[in-house]
Amino acid sequence: MLDLLQNLGRRGLGVFERLGRASLLLVQILSGLHTLLPRPRLVIQQVFSVGVLSLVIIVVSGTFVGMVLGLQGYNTLVDFGAEESLGVVVALSLVRELGPVVTALLFAGRAGSALTAEIGLMKATEQLSALEMMAVDPVRRVLAPRFIAGFISMPLLAAIFSAVGVLGGYFVGVGLLGVDEGAYWSQMQDKVDLYDDVYNGVIKSLAFGWVATWIAVFEGHDAVPTSEGVSRATTRTVVYTSLAVLGLDFVLTALMFGD
């Protein structure tokens, strides 16, 4: 019984300890950002590995998600004779929800796990310590560029996802199922609002980019420097990022569209 309580207490303390360390790391990263200004190449390199390399999976998933939305939306709407509204259904679900959320989930699997594994392995092979030995701050040199690259890449990836998805829905709805082309676009433009929908979607993806890279970078930096520790940290990155993104999505949706 006492063991159980002890265990529970240790677990609880551990959660707060990790949260505190993660917050401190975030502060360290943010305060080190200004040192990146004279060296944009570090960030560009990371945008390449985080953003450009995720492009294929984002474009392909976006197309298929848009096509499925077109197909499912059509089947539901045609019962009410409202298949003209297909464009609205596809665009609103993509821009408001699916674009930011699915992009963040794919990002966690494609880029977040890679970030954690890379940093964790750097730690395990003592490259981070070596940097410190040379009086180079690893937080500024290694973590900050990766964090800011994820923050930049996520909204761009989400926008590409949504745009490609709208085109996928167009392909299925207009091309295959015979929805009127003019109605598809005009109803969409009529109902989708630039500020309420598109901007809020971008804000969401910025928040997700922040959280996803924060978790990825922290888990890598905090990993137990063994091969098992790195593998565990990578798993935790994907799990925690997915949970955080979905939870945060509910909060943001309630704030933005709740009234």
Binding site: Q45, G51, L156, I160, S162, A163, D193, L194, V198
Partner: protein, 185 residues
């Protein structure tokens, strides 16, 4: 590892593609390219019943959207709904005696405000007409037809038709009619 130059080109392509996608979402998907409501004038109409009308509902004339509803308030003095509409600046020649009605688009569609043009008559023309009928020479009068301007109020209005009210009226008329027939027999 790829050369730095290739990496930079790819990142440039990525950022350009992302911005292009955002641009497409703004221009093609959302209503940025449609009417610019900031650039227009506000008119007002009072309705007995504005149920179903929402802020941002379209305002149309002859079936063409010329503006949007920007505010719906309740006036506690007249116990009416005050609907403020912003009309695109291009349409600044609408006759002042136009009438406004709340219609439903389709069977289950959204409500919108339909404006119908008036005759464009004003006091000048009426005075001239009267003078002609009475055989006098028309008095000189300044200004042409009056148009809707910022802050104008539309006087002739027809509120939303609420289905329950219509049915209730129909049923009561039906019952009254039945009663009269019985009385006649």
């Amino acid at each position: 590892m790829m050369s730095t130059r290739t990496t930079e080109i790819w990142v440039g392509v990525f950022v350009a593609a992302g911005l292009a996608a955002l641009f497409m979402l703004a221009m093609k998907v959302s209503n940025l390219s449609a009417l610019n409501e900031e650039d227009g004038f506000t008119i007002e109409a009072r309705f007995e019943d504005a149920s179903g009308l929402k802020v941002r509902s379209p305002v149309t004339m002859a079936g063409v959207r010329i503006g949007r509803v920007v505010a719906i308030e309740f006036d506690k003095q007249s116990l009416q709904a005050v609907v403020r509409m912003r009309i695109d600046r291009r349409y600044d020649t609408l006759p002042a005696d136009s009438s406004a009605s709340i219609y439903t688009a389709g069977l289950l569609g959204e409500k919108y405000v339909g404006l119908e043009p008036g005759a464009g008559a004003d006091e000048c023309e009426e005075a001239a007409l009267e003078a002609e009928l009475e055989g006098r020479a028309p008095e000189p009068c300044e200004g042409g037809t009056r148009v809707l301007r910022d802050g104008s109020r539309i006087k002739i209005t027809q509120g939303s038709l609420v289905l329950e009210k219509l049915i209730a009226r129909f049923v009561s008329q039906f019952l009254e009619g039945g009663g009269k027939k019985e009385a006649a027999q």
